[in-house]
C-alpha cells in the first residue's frame, strides 16, 4: 500500500480553511447514532472525547488509571506555545510554523505543522474560557515566557504545572459530557486489541483491570491517544504505566509505525542513584538559563569526587571543564536539548561522570548566584558587600526563579543545590515517532485515528519545548472533530456495530490466550527483570548516539531477550483479579517488539537529525566538525513501517517530505 498523506491542495495558509469548507458533515441527528472509542485520556484523548461528545457522538473513553485526570500529560511543567503575539514581539502563525519545522530538523510535514500553528491561538481562548488559571501580569492580562531558545515569548504557563492545569481543563470538559451521558467513561481499563471488520476499525477488546474481565466494545471509529513509548528504555520520565500497547497492537493489525527512532532525550534530569531506580525525574530546562554545566578536567578529581574524598566546590575554576561553553561558544549552556544531552554522554563515556554510577555532570549555579548577588548589592546600594552577603542576595534571586525545582532536587537527592552544584544527566522524555497518520490524523487502517504523542506527525525529528501540550490539544479539540466527521459521514446508515461477530470472537480469543499464557508460564524471572535488560540495551546502543554496529547488535539482543521473556517470564496471581504484574507483562511484551523495530529504524536512517544521532553521519571538517550531519538528499522522508510478523521483517514505506514554504538549513550552535 502506498502512503497517501491527503494533504489538501492550495497555498499552505489556506489548506485547513479550504479543507474545512469542503469536507462532508454529519447532521446532529445522525451523530447520535454514531459511536466513537477513544483510548487514552490525556490532553489529546481527553480533549477529543469531550469535543466529540459535545458534537453529539456517543463516546466511549478508556484509561488505565483510576481517573482521566491522572494521564501523564499532567506532568508537563513548562508551558504551551501559541501564536497569539500578545507581547507584540513579532510572533505569527508563520513564525511558529517555521520554528517548529526548523526545530524538528526538517523532518515533519509542512501542512500539518502549519495547521497546528494556526489553531494554537484557539487553544488559549478555549482553556481560559474553561477556567484554566494561566499566569497573568499585574494588568490582568495573560503572561508569556520564552522557552526552548526561540526568539519570541509565546509560551503560556500556569506556574510549573501547565500540563496539569490544561489536563484538568480537558478533564472538566469530559466530566461535563460524562454527566450528560455522552461519554461512557471506562476507568481502570486497558485496550488489548483493535477489532477490524471489513478492513475498518470497528471496536476494541479491553481488560477491566479491577475484575480481569475481558470486554468487547464496538464503535464506528477508534481513536488511539495513548501517548508515547519512552518506557521502552525502562528508565524514562514517563509514568510507570505509560505504555505502547494500544499503538503496538494496532500496528500489528495494519497501522504503519513511523519514525520510531526519533526520541527526545532531555538533558536536565536527576541522575539515576542505583539499580533499584524505577523512574527518572525531569527538571525544567529553564535551569540552563542560569546554571553552568561542567565536569572536572582531571580524572583524579573525578575519582576523588566519586569516592567522597573531594567536594565539587573545592575544585578550582582552572580545573573545571565547562564543556558546553568550550564546544559551543555561541550558545554555551543553552544549546538545544539533543546537543546538550549528547555532550553530557560524551564526557561521561570518557570517564568524567561525577557520581557513583558514572552518569552525571554538574549544573552549577555559583556564578549565577554571584552575578545576581552583585546586581542586587548595586540595586540596594550596598557598598563593599561581603562575600556572604552577595551569596545571600544572589541565592534569593535564584530561589525566586527556581525555588520549586531546587526544593524538588533537594527532596530527591538530599543535597542543597544552593551550596553544592546539582547533578544532572539526560533521560528519555518524549517520543516524536509514533503511528503514521495522514492529514486527517487517520492511520493506514480506515476508521482508526491516532492523536497526540502517540502519532508521529508534527514534531519531526525533535520537539520544541512547550509544543507537546499544544499538539495534544490541537489534535483533540480542533482537528480530529472535523476530520473524523468526514469519515463518519459514510457511516450514517451502518447502524450499531454488533459485538457478537467472528472478528470480535477471534480478537478476544487471542487476547485471552495471551493472558492465560502469562499466568501459566511459571517462569523464573519477573517482568521487570526483562524490562530492565531491554532498557539497558536500548540505552547503551539505541540511546543518545547510535552506530550501525551497535544497532545491529541491539536488534539481535532485543530479539534474544524477547525469546527468553516468552520462555521464562513469571507472572504471579490469576487472570480474573487486579493483577499489576500481568498488566506489566503485556506491556513489556510489546516493548520487546517495538524496541527491535526502533533499532531497525535507527539503523536504516543513516543520517543524524534532531534526536537521532548516527556517529557515522557527522561533519568531517570545518567549524562544525564532529557535529550532527543531516542528509536531506537521501533521508528527507518519513519512515513508515508495515508489520510483517517479526519486527526485523517490517517493510519500509517512505513518505517523501516536500518543503515548499521553508528553506532547509543546517542547525548551527557554534
Amino acid at each position: 500500500m502506498s502512503l497517501n498523506s491527503k494533504i489538501p491542495q492550495g497555498p499552505i495558509k489556506d489548506k485547513w480553511t479550504n479543507y474545512k469548507n469542503s469536507i462532508n458533515l454529519v447532521n446532529p441527528a445522525n451523530k447520535r447514532s454514531l459511536d466513537i472509542i477513544v483510548v487514552g485520556t490525556g490532553l489529546a484523548g481527553g480533549s477529543a472525547a469531550a469535543t466529540l461528545a459535545e458534537l453529539g457522538y456517543n463516546v466511549k473513553a478508556f484509561c488505565y488509571q483510576d481517573s482521566p485526570r491522572r494521564a501523564h500529560s499532567i506532568a508537563a511543567q513548562g508551558g504551551i506555545n501559541a501564536a497569539k503575539n500578545y507581547q507584540g514581539d513579532g510572533d505569527s502563525i508563520y513564525r511558529l510554523f517555521y520554528d517548529t519545522v526548523k526545530g524538528g530538523d526538517y523532518r515533519s510535514r509542512e501542512a500539518n505543522v502549519y495547521r497546528l500553528a494556526e489553531v494554537s491561538a484557539n487553544i488559549i481562548d478555549q482553556c481560559v474560557a474553561q477556567g484554566v488559571p494561566f499566569a497573568r501580569d499585574y494588568g490582568g492580562l495573560l503572561d508569556n515566557r520564552s522557552f526552548g531558545g526561540v526568539l519570541v515569548s509565546r509560551t503560556f504557563y500556569a506556574k510549573g504545572q501547565t500540563g496539569q492545569q490544561l489536563l484538568l481543563g480537558a478533564y472538566s470538559a469530559m466530566n461535563r459530557q460524562i454527566a450528560r451521558g455522552k461519554i461512557e467513561m471506562h476507568n481502570r481499563h486497558e485496550m488489548l486489541d483493535v477489532v477490524k471488520i471489513d478492513g475498518k476499525a470497528r471496536g476494541i477488546i479491553a481488560r477491566n483491570l479491577v475484575t480481569g474481565e475481558i470486554e468487547r466494545h464496538s464503535a464506528h471509529a477508534v481513536v488511539i491517544a495513548s501517548g508515547g513509548y519512552g518506557n521502552v528504555y525502562f528508565l524514562s520520565t514517563n509514568a510507570m504505566g505509560s505504555n505502547a500497547t494500544a499503538a503496538w497492537k494496532v500496528h500489528k493489525k495494519g497501522a504503519y509505525f513511523a519514525n520510531p527512532c526519533y526520541t527526545q532525550i532531555h538533558p536536565t534530569c536527576i541522575p539515576r542513584s542505583g539499580d533499584y531506580q524505577s523512574k527518572l525525574t525531569l527538571m525544567s530546562e529553564s535551569l540552563r538559563n542560569d546554571g553552568r554545566i561542567w565536569v572536572p578536567k582531571n580524572i583524579e578529581d573525578v575519582k576523588a569526587i566519586r569516592e567522597g574524598k573531594l567536594k565539587p566546590v573545592d575544585i578550582p575554576e582552572e580545573n573545571r571543564d565547562y564543556y558546553l561553553e568550550r564546544r559551543y561558544p555561541a550558545f554555551g549552556n543553552l544549546v538545544p536539548r539533543d546537543v546538550a544531552s549528547r555532550a553530557a554522554k560524551e564526557r561521561c563515556d570518557a570517564g568524567y561522570g561525577v557520581n557513583a554510577t558514572g552518569e552525571a555532570v554538574f549544573l552549577d549555579f555559583k556564578s549565577a548566584i554571584e552575578r545576581y548577588g552583585n546586581e542586587q548589592a548595586k540595586i540596594h546600594n550596598i557598598k563593599n558587600p561581603s562575600k556572604a552577603k552577595i551569596t545571600e542576595l544572589g541565592a534569593a534571586v535564584i530561589k525566586e526563579k527556581y525555588g520549586n525545582l531546587f526544593q524538588m532536587y533537594e527532596k530527591i537527592v538530599d543535597q542543597d543545590p544552593y551550596k553544592t552544584p546539582m547533578m544532572i544527566y539526560p533521560a528519555t522524555h518524549y517520543t516524536m515517532g509514533g503511528l503514521w497518520v495522514d492529514y486527517n490524523l487517520m492511520t493506514t487502517v480506515p476508521g482508526l485515528y491516532c492523536i497526540g504523542e502517540a502519532n508521529f506527525s508534527d514534531h519531526g525529528a525533535n520537539r520544541l519545548g512547550a509544543s507537546a501540550l499544544m499538539q495534544g490539544l490541537a489534535d483533540g479539540y480542533f482537528v480530529l472533530p472535523y476530520t473524523i466527521g468526514d469519515y463518519l459521514s459514510n457511516d450514517i446508515r451502518t447502524g450499531k456495530i454488533p459485538t457478537d461477530t467472528p472478528e470480535f470472537d477471534e480478537a478476544e480469543k487471542e487476547v485471552k490466550e495471551r493472558i492465560n499464557f502469562f499466568i501459566n508460564n511459571n517462569g523464573s524471572h519477573s517482568v521487570d527483570h526483562f524490562h530492565k535488560r531491554l532498557g539497558k540495551v536500548m540505552w547503551d546502543k539505541v540511546g543518545m548516539a547510535r552506530n550501525a554496529k551497535g544497532l545491529t547488535e541491539a536488534m539481535a539482543e532485543i530479539k534474544a531477550i524477547r525469546e527468553e521473556f516468552w520462555k521464562d517470564v513469571k507472572v504471579p496471581g490469576t487472570a480474573n483479579e487486579m493483577n499489576p504484574e500481568l498488566e506489566k507483562a503485556g506491556r513489556v511484551a510489546d516493548f520487546l517488539e517495538l524496541g527491535e523495530l526502533f533499532a531497525k529504524d535507527a539503523l536504516m536512517r543513516n543520517e543524524s537529525c534532531g534526536g537521532h544521532f548516527r556517529e557515522e553521519s557527522v561533519e568531517l571538517e570545518g567549524e562544525q566538525k564532529g557535529e550532527a550531519k543531516r542528509n536531506d538528499k537521501d533521508f528527507a522522508f518519513v519512515a513508515a513501517w508495515e508489520y510483517k510478523g517479526e519486527p526485523a521483517d517490517a517493510v519500509l514505506h517512505k513518505e517523501e517530505l516536500k518543503f515548499e514554504n521553508i528553506e532547509l538549513k543546517q542547525r548551527s550552535y557554534k
Partner: protein, 246 residues
C-alpha cells in the same frame, strides 16, 4: 537499612483483610518509598507469593495516583510530598513501618493498598466544570482581564491532585478540602461565576451522597495535603453555599 513492614493485605473488595508483616533488608536511604515497595514485591514474586497491589503512576508527585497511609499519616511523615516522593532517609534502620490503604467508607478497598476513589469523579461530574463548548469559538483569551491576585489564588486551589489524602487524614473522612478547592478555583475566576450557584449546591449534594463525613475544622487535611491546599478553600466553599442558598 533493614525494616519490618506491616502491610494491609486484602484479596479483593469482598474479602476481609488483615495486616501482614514482611521483612526487607539492604534498603538504600536514597530509594523512594515506592522503590522500596518494588524491592519487596520483587522479593515476594521470587518467593512465589503474590506481590502487594498499590496505586502509583507518575512517581513525581503530580498524578495523584499513589495513596498510602504510612505510619499513621497519609503519604507518610514528610510534608508537602506524595508517597512516591517520600524517601527512605525519612526512616531509620530497624524501624517498623505500618502501611495501610486510605480509609473511608466512600473509598472502598479494591485490593491490598488500592482504593476506589471514583466518588471524587462523581463529585466533579456534578459540577466541577464550566459549561463552555470546546469549539474554540469563544472570545479572545485576553477579553476579560483577571487580577493577578485572583488568578494566582485560583491557581493555588487548582493545584489539587485529587489524591484523597485529605479524606484519608480527616478523622471524619470528610472530602471538603477536595471539593472546596474545586469550588474555589471557579469561584475566583469570572468565567466560573455564571454557574456558581448550581455548581456549589450540586457538588456539595453529591459529596454528601457519597458518604463522606462532615468537616469539624481539625485542619488535618491541610497539613497532610501534598500540595498545601489551604483550609481557606473550605471557608470559601461554605460562603459560596450560603450565598447560593440565601
Amino acid at each position: 537499612m533493614n525494616l519490618t513492614l506491616k502491610i494491609w493485605r486484602q484479596k479483593d473488595a469482598k474479602s476481609k483483610g488483615k495486616m501482614v508483616s514482611y521483612q526487607v533488608n539492604d534498603i538504600s536511604e536514597h530509594m523512594s518509598f515506592l522503590e522500596m515497595m518494588d524491592v519487596l514485591n520483587e522479593q515476594l514474586i521470587n518467593e512465589g507469593q503474590e506481590p502487594i497491589a498499590f496505586d502509583h503512576d507518575c512517581r513525581e508527585g503530580i498524578c495523584g495516583m499513589c495513596s498510602m497511609y504510612i505510619n499513621g499519616e497519609a503519604h507518610g511523615p514528610d510534608r508537602g510530598v506524595t508517597t512516591c516522593q517520600l524517601h527512605m532517609r525519612s526512616f531509620k534502620d530497624g524501624d517498623t513501618i505500618t502501611i495501610e490503604p486510605f480509609r473511608a467508607k466512600a473509598f472502598p478497598v479494591i485490593k491490598d493498598l488500592v482504593v476506589d476513589r471514583s466518588a471524587f469523579e462523581r463529585i466533579q461530574q456534578a459540577g466541577g466544570f464550566i459549561s463552555v463548548n470546546t469549539s474554540g469559538n469563544t472570545q479572545d483569551a485576553n477579553a476579560i482581564p483577571i487580577s493577578k491576585h485572583a488568578a494566582d489564588e485560583a491557581m493555588d486551589s487548582a493545584t489539587c491532585i485529587g489524591c484523597g489524602a485529605c479524606v484519608a487524614s480527616c478523622k471524619n473522612a470528610s472530602a471538603m478540602l477536595f471539593v472546596g478547592a474545586k469550588v474555589s478555583q471557579y469561584a475566583l475566576l469570572p468565567q466560573g461565576q455564571i454557574e456558581a450557584t448550581d455548581r456549589v449546591k450540586n457538588m456539595v449534594a453529591q459529596m454528601d451522597l457519597e458518604g463522606f463525613g462532615n468537616c469539624t475544622n481539625t485542619g488535618a487535611c491541610e497539613v497532610e495535603c501534598p500540595k498545601g491546599i489551604s483550609l481557606e478553600n473550605i471557608a470559601r466553599m461554605n460562603r459560596e453555599l450560603m450565598k447560593a442558598n440565601l
